[in-house]
Amino acid sequence: GAGVSQTPSNKVTEKGKYVELRCDPISGHTALYWYRQSLGQGPEFLIYFQGTGAADDSGLPNDRFFAVRPEGSVSTLKIQRTERGDSAVYLCASSPWGGSGNTIYFGEGSWLTVV
């Protein structure tokens, strides 16, 4: 596609429920990133994929968070047993190739509210 596409754009869920957020990167981009942005803060790194593998998942806050990219294109961020503190905008980004020297391009984000 022309840009990074994220779905859903908005999600309201009850505490304790399971949530999946989807990211469709720019066509041909091999690197994919997930970030989380809380109100009034800058985006915080969660995980980086190079192809199908998670090259760096050091930003995932705990084991309730998990992300996959099985075919090296679309990625899904999965959150189990959601908590109110998980409420944030989840941003996906992609870049042409892995490694240094890349411009990264962001989607419009998925706004998650846990009530």
Binding site: Y33, Q41, G42, F45, L91, G101, T103, Y105, E108
Partner: protein, 109 residues
């Protein structure tokens, strides 16, 4: 970890005014990008600028990597420039960008 600080945190300008936003970082970086986050939350790339100076219309940016800072210049500001400006640095080839604290800009008509 690396610290990325931006100043000023908040800025209010009258339309037509010029401004300079600063980004300081505490360690060596391979790359640096400036973003504008519009009121709808979309992060828009402004510059990819690991070093040197670039210009794009009313905006320009300079990065002095050896001194660990970057500047974003906005000239003849417009109300559509309002939003939050972030710098983000790629730390030591880690392939992930670390975002700064942001500068919230409001341009008044």
């Amino acid at each position: 970890g690396i610290q990325v600080e931006q100043s000023p945190p908040d800025l209010i300008l009258q339309e037509g005014a010029n401004s300079t936003l600063r980004c300081n970082f505490s360690d060596s970086v391979n790359n640096l990008q400036w973003f504008h986050q519009n009121p709808w939350g979309q992060l828009i790339n402004l510059f990819y600028i690991p070093s040197g100076t670039k210009q794009n219309g009313r905006l320009s940016a300079t990065t002095v990597a050896t001194e660990r800072y970057s500047l974003l210049y906005i000239s003849s500001s417009q109300t559509t420039d309002s939003g939050v400006y972030f710098c983000a640095v790629e730390w030591r080839g880690t392939y992930k960008y670390i975002f700064g604290t942001g500068t919230r800009l409001k341009v008044l008509a």
